[in-house]
């Protein structure tokens, strides 16, 4: 009972810290930007006061939008809050391997010169600079899109950094649990909490969908994918501004692996059901084959989009509501938005686990359909 209570309060406390820290973090930026804007507005004597206020409000909205975009996007440095953060290594394949610190970009204010090549950071992307001067380094087309060439970029970005951290964390966490079984078969410490989840993945996801006979060889993938997505979703709930699972490259990679494993483990029955569906008139068989073939690719595609969209939407909604606190900053309803943020954070915690579950569940379902053996023919 006492432990339950402690866990509950710790959880609630963590949530409070998380929410308020997010609010503070972005609040600072918003206020700073807003203050900056006001200075500019004051300098401009032509603006009427009314217009100025209206303008300031739309500007706050623009700042919030930019902050959200910035939060959702990948980044070349690990930004925690104002002035706190560290640069990450940039790795480019462009006339050979080029490795340098992202601090050389000075947050996009300067052109980075490395081994005779110049690069510029613009809106979170690295382009080949046309000159060493930041003002003439980029070339735009009519729609104000950058036309500069992009180098092949394998940088350790914030997301890559988080993936690495998470991989190391998961290694120590789960190998630690595995080691604890050597002394006693009774689960200890983290194992007490995580073992039931591992057993849940085995008994409720893998075995019912894949079958008792084949499930074992997929367990490593299913468990890794489940905990990887879940932990990264949870990491996204911290105020560090991490949005790994809401990134299309990540979900594409996960979906692609699921797709490959499914096709590789596909048995005769599986391909038969795709190309020559049994129990269907011969005339319809080619039509069915086309539909099944499309389904083959739609399945992993839906996996990719579902996780990406859910996590992205969760972040956007949460941050928008936090942003509303600043839009209505002067009013009394700010605490209400704070409460709403809290409730939505709870919802997002659920979504974090739910999306991990759904991804794992559907992956298991696809594996199951690939190894399924039909008795009726």
């Amino acid at each position: 009972m006492i432990t339950k209570f402690n866990t509950f309060w710790a959880f609630l406390g963590l949530l409070f810290v998380t929410s308020s820290a997010v609010a503070q973090d972005h609040g600072h930026e918003v206020h700073k930007e807003a203050a900056h804007h006001e200075e500019v507005a004051h300098d401009d004597s032509h603006h009427a006061t009314a217009l100025h206020e209206e303008d300031s409000e739309t500007d706050i909205k623009a700042v919030i939008k930019e902050t959200i975009d910035h939060h959702l996007a990948d980044s070349y440095d690990f930004h925690i809050t104002d002035g706190i953060g560290f640069p990450l290594p940039v790795i480019l394949f462009d006339n050979g391997l080029k490795v340098f610190s992202s601090s050389k970009f000075h947050h996009g204010h300067e052109v980075a010169s490395v081994d005779g090549d110049n690069y510029v950071l613009y809106h979170g992307k690295i382009y080949k600079a046309l000159s060493t001067d930041i003002h003439t380094a980029l070339d735009y087309d009519d729609h104000h899109h950058v036309t500069n060439e992009k180098p092949l970029d394998f940088s350790i970005t914030k997301n890559v950094f988080m993936i690495l951290v998470m991989a190391i964390f998961m290694f120590f966490l789960f190998s630690g649990i595995a080691k604890s079984y050597k002394t006693s078969l009774k689960p200890q410490k983290a194992g007490k909490f995580l073992e039931p989840i591992i057993i849940y993945v085995r008994d409720e996801i893998a075995i019912p969908n894949i079958g008792e006979k084949h499930y074992k060889k997929y367990m490593s993938y299913l468990l890794t994918v489940f905990f990887f997505i879940w932990f990264l979703n949870l990491a996204g709930m911290t105020p560090l501004g991490i949005n790994v699972t809401g990134n299309i490259a990540i979900t594409f990679s996960l979906a692609l692996m699921t797709f490959i494993i499914t096709q590789v483990s596909g048995k005769k029955d599986y391909w038969m059901h795709i190309f020559w569906m049994p129990g269907v008139p011969v005339v319809l068989k080619p039509v069915m084959a086309i539909i099944e073939l499309i389904g083959l690719f739609v399945k992993p595609f839906s996996l990719m989009i579902r996780l990406y969209a859910n996590m992205l939407a969760g972040h956007v909604v949460l941050m928008s509501i936090i942003g509303l606190i600043f839009v209505f900053g002067k009013w009394v309803i700010s605490p209400a938005f704070f409460g709403l943020t809290l409730v939505l954070s709870l919802l997002e915690l659920l979504v974090a686990a739910l999306q991990a579950y759904i991804f794992t569940m559907l992956a298991a379902l696809y594996f199951g359909s690939a190894v399924e053996e039909h008795d009726h023919h």
């Binding site: 996007a73 290694f171 490593s220 692996m257």
Partner: protein, 166 residues
Amino acid sequence: MDKLINDFSVGLFFWQTLVFVTLILVLRRFAWKPILNAVNEREESIEGALKAAEKAREEMASLQASNEAIMKEAREERERILKEARDMKNSIVAEAKESAVAEAEKTIAAAKATIESEKAAAIAELKNQAATLSIEVAEKVLGQELSTKNKQAEMISKMIDEVKIN
């Protein structure tokens, strides 16, 4: 869709795939296999323990049942032995009684016979003695009175008659 493709980062995809595949392989070796094996082992041991307990319970029950059967048998055996003993006692007593009665009867009969024979002998002797005595008496009396033959015969027949009456 344009935004999706624009957002897609080849570098991130590369690192994600590399790290994830490595993570799967490493965790399979160092975490999932040992954990799942330990869980399996524990489940099997629990199942084994449960089965053993069930078996022990069954054995216990059967043991109890057999104990009861043995007890019942023993009780029956005792009853039977007791009954036999009782029967034997009864029959012995009856037999003894019977033989005692027979013996007594025999003894009585023998005694009766002896008594009869003794009585007869005694009577005979008494008769003889009485006769002898009477003869002697008669001799003495007759010696004096019965000097004649007629008187003697009369006397004798008179006596015989008396004896017969007797």
